[in-house]
């Protein structure tokens, strides 16, 4: 087990290195001077700026400088807000905003997606081929509908309905609990549906297996049966689905942050892309990739712990 974790950790490092290398090269192979679009600067100032951003060195030296900075936790300097460090933008001191806001949004959404998906799939799987069959049908149609509706549609639509028409929740902002409700639900909705679909078929399969029949014959009540015996093996495919779910939720959070004006790193990414602030976007791509890679690693390790069939 321990050696498995070590091996997986060893696999993470080349991936991370590839991410940094590819995105670094993409940025620095692009022709054009990042300061050229500003007001005509005096040559000595330009030279000073180039020196400050290490742009006067050969590419491989720039890359080594960049790696060195990254390892020491320094994400470099923003090009748009000159002289301001990206660390300061991403991890603002004291005030609310930046990285941790996005992480909170993502964490809540994953939790809601997991809980919602499991509850819906239990209802769906247990009512299949029974008198209450319609529940299964309703849930299936709901899943299909939700999966086909992109977050780009659901997010503004939810603002229109629940904030503008009904005034139940605020249309945006961050800080209080009621600010959280709409963004978290909208962000987790597609993944609730995906988890429901996957877990439903696996739960149906498990419910048909001999050990469940034995437990039924023993006289276990239905809730106890599902909770104690059926749910855990049925959740295995869901655990392996968590990796892509996290990547999707992080991607979706960019849209959510924009619609609900949440001051996270997604909104900074979009602003950086609009302002063509290469360094900021580069740093954020690396942060997002790091999040996804680390989470995938965690999921793999959890999976290995949970599944007794896997031995390392």
């Amino acid at each position: 087990m321990f050696s498995y974790i070590l091996r997986r950790l060893g696999g993470v490092i080349p991936t991370l290195f590839a991410v940094v290398l590819i995105s670094f090269l993409m940025v620095h192979m692009t022709p054009g001077d990042p300061f050229a679009t500003e007001r005509a600067l005096p040559p000595e100032v330009l030279k000073q700026l180039h020196h400050q951003y290490h742009l006067d060195l050969p590419l491989w030296q720039q890359f080594l400088y960049y790696l060195d900075d990254l390892i020491h936790g320094n994400l470099g300097y923003s090009l748009k807000y000159q002289g301001q460090s990206i660390n300061h933008l991403v991890f603002p001191t004291g005030s609310q905003g930046g990285f941790w806001v996005s992480v909170q949004l993502g964490t809540f959404s994953i939790i809601i997606a997991g809980i919602g998906g499991i509850i819906l799939d239990i209802f769906s799987a247990l009512t299949k081929d029974t008198l209450a069959d319609f529940i299964d049908h309703v849930i299936s149609v709901f899943c299909m509908l939700v999966i086909s509706t992109p977050i780009v549609v659901t997010a503004p639509l939810s603002v229109l309905v629940f904030a503008v028409f009904l005034h139940w929740f605020p249309a945006g902002g961050w800080g209080t609990l009621s600010d959280l409700v709409l963004p978290v639900i909208i962000l987790s909705l597609p993944y609730i549906a995906v988890i429901t679909q996957i877990a439903r078929s696996s739960l149906i399969e498990i419910m048909g297996s001999p050990f469940i029949r034995t437990a039924k014959a023993k006289g276990l009540s239905m809730p106890r049966l599902v909770w104690r015996h059926a749910l855990k093996p049925a959740m295995m495919p869901v655990v392996s689905l968590l990796g892509p779910t996290v990547a999707g939720i992080l991607t979706g959070s960019v849209v959510i942050e924009r619609v609900f004006t949440i001051p996270g790193i997604g909104i900074q990414m979009v602003q950086g892309a609009t302002n063509r602030d290469y360094n900021l976007v580069l740093a954020l791509v690396i942060i997002y990739s790091l999040l996804v890679i680390v989470f995938n690693l965690l999921v793999d390790i959890i999976y290995a712990f949970l599944d007794p069939k896997i031995r390392y």
């Binding site: 503004p156 603002v159 991607t251 924009r258 996804v292 890679i293």
Partner: protein, 311 residues
């Protein structure tokens, strides 16, 4: 009534029997191909058939209707801003008095174009990589699939944003960015299918006959992959459309005044607080219906081509 019917039926049967007996009716012995069978099964799936019709209607609308519109997508009329839907402007007007009906149709063209072209890119790359890896196996397979695995673990949307940041908002670039995101699934599926196919007897027979490997891949393997590729095309188009819409919504897609559905939804979302519901709801409905139809058709095709695996 019933009697005459059975009488007619009897006559018909007798006719067929005679034809079959004299071996002059070709239809009686004509074999049914795999794809014809699949088509018959697909036709029984009502939702899928209905979705296919709706999709066809939407595509025809996008192509034909802009020609008959009295407005163009960029034509502004500052005297008629934020008009709600009426006989003059069927879908209302936006902040610059542009006709939303025309803009939704033109935007739909762009969105569907991006969806199809990006899918085409991903099909070509994915099929080639998948078929090569699956057919050759060994080290080539290991290396290619390892690359796919590494790419799979990356949040590709962010790389697409980085690409757009670097090279500006370029039409071709958006195709490339999306195609690069969606080919991975295709490569995996095609590889799996190829590995199943390559040990079948007809491939062995081809080897024995001395057919070149390249020809075996293109003529025998890829031909037999067409079914699964068709399924993935119908499922990849909505995926690509979603990514295109995502980028345009963030203002990183098509440049104004040209627009696509993502851009229109984004415009609508910005004025949401003022109750201009049509700016948001109309493009959103078109997008959602299109995506739903693609997904239903894709699922119907999958069930039709692989009847063993019913969902």
């Amino acid at each position: 009534m019933e009697k005459s019917f059975t009488l007619r039926q009897k006559k018909k049967n007798a006719y067929f029997l005679e034809k079959v007996a004299t071996n002059s009716y070709e239809g009686a012995f004509k074999g049914r191909s795999l794809y014809y069978d699949a088509w018959l099964r697909f036709k029984k799936n009502r939702i899928a058939k209905f979705s296919l019709v709706v999709l066809g209607l939407i595509i025809v609308m996008m192509i034909v209707l802009p020609w008959f519109s009295p407005y163009t997508y960029a034509q502004q009329n500052l005297l008629e801003v934020y008009q709600s839907p009426s006989a003059k402007h069927w879908f209302g007007t936006d902040s610059l008095g542009r006709d939303i009906f025309t803009r939704v149709m033109i935007g739909g063209r762009i969105t569907l174009e991006i969806g199809f072209v990006a899918t085409l890119v991903s099909v070509v790359i994915g099929t080639l990589v998948g078929a090569t890896a699956g057919f050759l196996g060994g080290n080539v397979d290991n290396i290619l699939m390892r690359i796919v695995d590494v790419l799979y673990g990356l949040p590709f949307m962010f790389f697409a944003i980085l690409l757009v940041t670097l090279f500006g908002r370029n039409f071709i670039l958006i195709f490339i960015a999306i195609g690069a995101v969606v080919w991975l699934d295709m490569a995996r599926v095609v590889r799996g299918q190829t590995m199943g196919l390559k040990n079948r007897q007809f491939i062995e027979a081809a080897h024995v006959c001395g057919v070149k490997e390249r020809v075996i891949i293109t003529r025998h393997i890829i031909r037999n992959l067409i079914g699964i590729i068709a399924v993935y095309i119908t499922l990849t188009v909505p995926g690509s459309i979603m990514i295109a819409v995502f980028l345009s919504f963030l203002g990183l897609g098509i440049q104004p005044p040209m627009t696509d559905w993502g851009g229109l939804i984004s415009d609508g979302a910005q004025v949401i607080a003022f109750n201009y519901w049509w700016l948001l709801l109309i493009p959103s409905s078109f997008l959602t219906v299109t995506l739903l139809c693609f997904n239903f058709v894709g699922n119907g095709l999958r069930d039709a081509l692989d009847p063993r695996e019913q969902h």
